[in-house]
């Protein structure tokens, strides 16, 4: 296995810092790979391509977390249009209004301090 220039996580975070949600695509398997890896989990090939997501997706599963202190917040699994699933949250509406099957679009938002930006989603206008 050749030594990569940077880790899969570093590449992913660099894309986020540029306002992009990146994922990998395996030409050999003909399918996306997420979370990012050093090699394709379907073929073992190292020739994974980095691609940038369109940022469109659909809510696959959703919950509202009620912390012991502080406000409730959303956690969802999003099926991205390119065929990979990720954990994120849906913002812009009350968490209890988030529905499975809802069309959502990516927003990359900054975090406090040195934390890297994170990919969240908002409902697509005019659709629900």
């Amino acid at each position: 296995m050749s030594k990569p220039d940077s880790s899969p996580l570093q590449r992913y975070l660099e894309h986020l810092k540029q306002g992009e949600l990146a994922y990998q695509y395996s030409p050999a398997a003909g399918r996306p790979v997420f979370f990012p890896r050093v090699a394709c989990p379907y073929t073992g090939n190292e020739d994974l391509e980095w691609r940038v997501s369109s940022g469109r997706g659909v809510v696959y599963a959703t919950t509202t977390v009620h912390p012991a202190s502080g406000d409730p917040y959303n956690v969802s699994l999003i099926d991205c249009r390119e065929g990979f699933r990720m954990m994120s949250r849906v913002e812009g509406i009350p968490s209890s209004d988030v529905r499975i099957g809802m069309d959502v679009a990516l927003r990359i938002i900054p975090q406090s301090g040195d934390e890297p930006p994170i990919p969240v989603f908002v409902p697509v206008e005019g659709r629900s």
């Binding site: 996580l9 992913y12 975070l13 997420f34 979370f35 696959y60 599963a61 959703t62 919950t63 509202t64 977390v65 009620h66 912390p67 409730p72 917040y73 956690v75 969802s76 699994l77 699933r85 990720m86 954990m87 994120s88 949250r89 209890s96 499975i100 099957g101 975090q111 934390e115 994170i118």
Partner: protein, 384 residues
């Protein structure tokens, strides 16, 4: 499971350690050792008979070494497979393999946890996942809540049906003197309890207790010479589908489909042959998922299946007869208690909660966030 021979090995001793809230300063290994000595006593064996050590806990990195030191033995065979709460079902399978191959003759499988005393956050290593942690999932509850949301969406499962699982577990617990919970519970109380991660309230979630236990295994031939009736290992199966919930292929279908299928095939039995069902109920949705995936009802019917007291005492399918992780005890990796209860049901030792004529019991373990599924089918000598 491939390579294992039906009814070649048997469980000959079982015991819980102290449960609930244990004495101050007790360690996980103290609890393991308590379990081991009590289980050996149950089997009519001595520590000098033991040449195989199996141990798992989230609190001690080298638990098999720590337990061997504590017991002052140098075992011929050691195993610390750790896949969460289903670890102990895999230990049973691996112990059978070791016994079958002559690597050891008498194996003990032990667990101990003081998570109530030390606090849940201090009971296991923090493992940030850069693709999940930023969204602050309250794990493991949030992962199971996501699965529940999907089950409700696809099959119309209701919060009341989830509540029925908690109520059935509580009704069984009221028949078990060792259970943590002592008061009745209603579906309304489940629904109106503090919300943790929607749709799961605190009453949809397992207890946070201390506790431990142990199992003694040997060949079935040797088991016939020991104190208690033979409880043969008829079938074992295991499957891993993912580690983190965002990588689970299908949130409403677990690896229990495969682990169950493999265990039934080895046992040459099916769901209709199981007298007592012990499944890992870390959350109410688990019971529904596992009843479906292990073939007790069709996929999607689990919610309707648990209504009307069907899995409660007096119902047509006895499920989680000790009161489960929801109402009996849950120190974090609960699988060993399912095996202990399954053995006691097959032996007929369960008193008020005994399933009449129980000859075959199924113990199904779950580890991680629906990640690791492992099934063990146990039977009386009459079923061999």
């Amino acid at each position: 499971m491939k390579g294992l021979v039906r009814a070649n090995a048997a469980i000959v001793g079982v015991a819980e350690s102290d449960l609930g809230a244990v004495a101050e300063g007790m360690s996980p290994i103290d609890l393991m050792a308590q379990g081991v000595y009590r289980a050996l006593d149950d089997a009519g064996l001595n520590i000098s008979d033991v040449d195989g050590i199996f141990a798992a806990t989230s609190q001690v990195r080298l638990s098999a070494l720590a337990l061997s030191e504590y017991l002052n033995i140098s075992p011929a065979y050691l195993n610390s497979t750790i896949v969460g709460g289903s670890s102990f079902m895999l230990h049973v399978a691996h112990a059978q393999a070791a016994i079958q191959q002559g690597l050891c003759e008498v194996a003990v499988i032990a667990y101990g946890s003081t998570q109530r005393t030390v606090g849940r956050k201090n009971a296991s290593l923090r493992e940030p996942n850069p693709y999940e942690t930023p969204f602050k999932p309250f794990l493991p509850a949030t992962a199971y809540a996501l699965a529940a949301s999907r089950h409700m969406f696809e099959f119309g499962t209701t919060r009341e049906q989830l509540g029925a699982v908690a109520v059935a577990a509580r009704d069984w617990a009221l028949l078990n003197p060792k259970a943590w919970e002592k008061k009745p519970l209603t579906i309304d109380q489940v629904l109106s309890a503090r919300m943790i991660s929607h749709p799961l309230t605190v009453r949809d979630c397992c207890l946070v207790t201390d506790g431990g236990g142990a199992i003694v295994m040997t060949s079935r031939e040797r088991a016939k010479t020991l104190k208690k009736p033979v409880v043969a290992v008829l079938g074992c199966g295991a499957a891993v589908t993912h580690n983190s919930i965002s990588s689970m292929p299908d949130l409403v279908t677990t690896g229990a489909v495969q682990s169950g299928r493999d265990a039934y095939a080895m046992a040459r039995l099916g769901p209709a042959d199981i007298d007592a069902v012990e499944v890992y109920d870390a959350f109410t949705i688990n019971t529904i998922l596992f009843l479906e995936d292990l073939g007790f009802c069709p996929k999607g019917e689990g919610g309707r299946f648990v209504e009307g007291g069907r899995i409660a005492p007096g119902g047509s399918l006895p499920v989680n007869t000790n009161g489960g992780g929801l109402s009996y005890c849950h120190p974090g990796m609960y699988g060993i208690f399912l095996l202990i209860e399954a053995v006691r049901q097959v032996r007929g030792e369960c008193g008020a909660r005994q399933v009449k004529g129980c000859e075959v019991a199924l113990a199904h373990g779950n580890g991680g966030v629906l990640s690791s599924q492992s099934t063990v089918i146990l039977g009386a000598e009459s079923t061999v």
